[in-house]
């Protein structure tokens, strides 16, 4: 596609429920990143995928968070047993390859946990 696409745009869920967020990167981009942005704050790195290499999961805040990516296509970020502190905007970004450092961002998913 023309840009990075994220869905849903907004998600409201109840505490304790699982949620799945989707990111569709720009076609041909080998690397994909997930960031979390709490209200009024900066971007917090969660995880990144580079081709067929093992993902860098060093930013995942707890074992309730996981992400998958099939090849160089869609990625899903799953949050299990959501808590109110998980409320944030989840941004996805992709780059053509690891040597190209300019991030192309999606518009994010606003997650609200009630």
């Amino acid at each position: 596609g023309a840009g990075v696409s994220q869905s849903p745009s907004n998600k409201v869920t109840e505490k304790g429920k699982d949620v799945e967020l989707r990111c569709d990167p720009i076609s041909g981009h080998t690397a994909l990143y997930w960031y979390r942005q709490r209200l009024g704050q900066g971007l917090e790195f969660l995880i990144y995928f580079q081709g067929n290499s093992a993902p860098d999961k060093s930013g995942l805040p707890s074992d309730r968070f996981s992400a998958e990516r099939t090849g160089e296509s869609v990625s899903t970020l799953t949050i299990q047993r959501t808590q109110q502190e998980d409320s944030a905007v989840y941004l996805c970004a992709s780059i053509p390859d690891r040597g190209n450092e300019k991030l192309f961002f999606g518009s994010g998913t606003q997650l609200s946990v009630l």
Partner: protein, 114 residues
Amino acid sequence: AQTVTQSQPEMSVQEAETVTLSCTYDTSENNYYLFWYKQPPSRQMILVIRQEAYKQQNATENRFSVNFQKAAKSFSLKISDSQLGDTAMYFCALWGTNAGKSTFGDGTTLTVKP
């Protein structure tokens, strides 16, 4: 480890005037890139300007320019002839080539007043 610090949570400027946003960083890498991103209320992150650490010359993009002081690990953004459309949150970011990911500051909310 990479750190990025933006010490100005909020700033304002009159339309047509000049404003400077501050950013300091720390990294152990020799090869890195620095960025300023703009995030309007739409949440879409937009790349404003990019600086390669090995280049001494400060980057410029139309009304946007940077003051890159490598020894001081400082990377400020100057916006000249401010426009109402410049109102947004601005993030400073550092990309470490070995790290393979960007670290972001907490952002500066800029308001341009008519």
